[in-house]
């Protein structure tokens, strides 16, 4: 795999960083990353990873853009209200970097589709907003042996970590063995 002259221009500020360099940028280009959710976390994630030159970005979301999303889900714009979030974020990412591939999955993640979906990627990033999906993603990442980058927020607080139990680290269940009572979960 090589970078085109156009790509060398585009990623010049990475290529001159010794910590990234040509070897790092080629790893970015070869990488296939799956984002769970195109919302508050998925928007900046998709935009930054796309701009940085990740070769293939997958995005799963079944929701459509609502005007109450716009205050934080910055991949979506006024004209996108009512449009599937995956289509809206794909357009935004490609507008910033048409050199990469964006594969969208306009579907609800479930037991029936998750394993096949994860198998097509190297790394999974969970930006979902409910506990059912958190546990589903954690378990599926374990069974498919994919490292899982975990991000979550509540009001003004955020948590971020990497779960990679096959490399000796913990998984989400090591941290939270069971979910909180359903009535306590904020929407």
């Amino acid at each position: 795999m090589k970078l085109t002259n156009e790509e060398i221009n585009r990623y010049a500020r990475h290529l001159t960083l010794p910590e990234v360099g040509m070897a790092g940028q080629l790893k970015f280009k070869a990488a296939k990353i799956l984002l769970i959710g195109a919302g508050g976390l998925g928007s900046p994630l998709g935009m930054y990873l796309g701009a940085a030159g990740i070769g293939k970005l997958g995005i799963v979301d079944f929701d459509v853009v609502d005007s109450s999303n716009l205050q934080r889900q910055i991949a979506h714009r006024v004209a996108d209200v009512g449009r599937p979030k995956v289509e809206s974020i794909k357009a935004t990412i490609l507008a910033g970097n048409p050199e990469i591939e964006v594969e969208i999955h306009d579907t609800r993640l479930s037991r029936d589709n998750v394993l096949e979906l994860f198998n097509g990627y190297d790394l999974v990033v969970d930006g979902s907003d409910n506990f059912e999906t958190r546990y589903l993603v954690n378990d599926a990442a374990f069974f498919t042996k994919k490292p899982l980058v975990y991000g979550s927020i509540f009001k003004f607080q955020g948590q971020i970590t990497v779960f990679n139990p096959h490399e000796g680290g913990p998984c989400y269940r090591c941290l939270y063995a069971s979910p909180p009572p359903a009535a306590l979960v904020p929407s």
Partner: protein, 160 residues
């Protein structure tokens, strides 16, 4: 890593692998994907578990509109948070946030007919159960809450 944007603090916490983890521990019990909706449907341990006939203690927003129009003496209680109250509320309601509901119970009279509402109807039913456990009986929770009210009764009210 934990981030608190009000205090502007970042904190690193070391997470250990749990040898008893049901998925990645030494003796896993979760060996394939499970039913995650059932797994996450954990009931409340406290008073909210109290078994009452919720339907018998519910009213819809049209019934509420009729009662308020009729001029009948009722106590209308809004159990949402103050910042939600500031966005919109129903005229004549009293604000008694469910988070500190105990504090407000002495202000209520069991002789009165008490109608409770929140955003969607979940918190008001929880508050109702609390009052029921305290011996109140003339209670109704508004199904669908103020969001339903704004949708079909007072369409000029903002929705959030």
């Amino acid at each position: 890593m934990l981030f608190d944007s009000l205090k502007m603090t970042f904190r690193d916490v070391k997470i250990q692998k749990d040898p008893d983890c049901e998925l990645c521990g030494e003796h896993p019990t979760v060996t394939e994907l499970i039913d995650y909706e059932a797994f996450c449907d954990i009931p409340m341990p406290s008073y909210e578990k109290e078994d009452i006939d919720e339907a018998a203690f519910s009213m819809d927003v049209q019934e509420l509109e009729e009662i308020l129009k009729s001029g009948k003496e009722v106590v209308l209680v809004d159990v949402r948070d103050p910042n939600e109250w500031d966005i919109c509320h129903i005229d004549g309601a009293k604000l008694m946030p469910v988070g500190e509901f105990d504090k407000y119970i002495p202000e209520l009279n069991p002789e009165d007919e008490i109608l409770l509402y929140c955003y969607k109807g979940v918190r008001s039913m929880n508050a109702l159960k609390k009052l029921h456990a305290e011996g109140f009986t003339k209670l109704k929770s508004v199904t669908g809450g103020i969001d339903r009210w704004a949708e079909i009764v007072d369409t000029s009210m903002p929705r959030y």
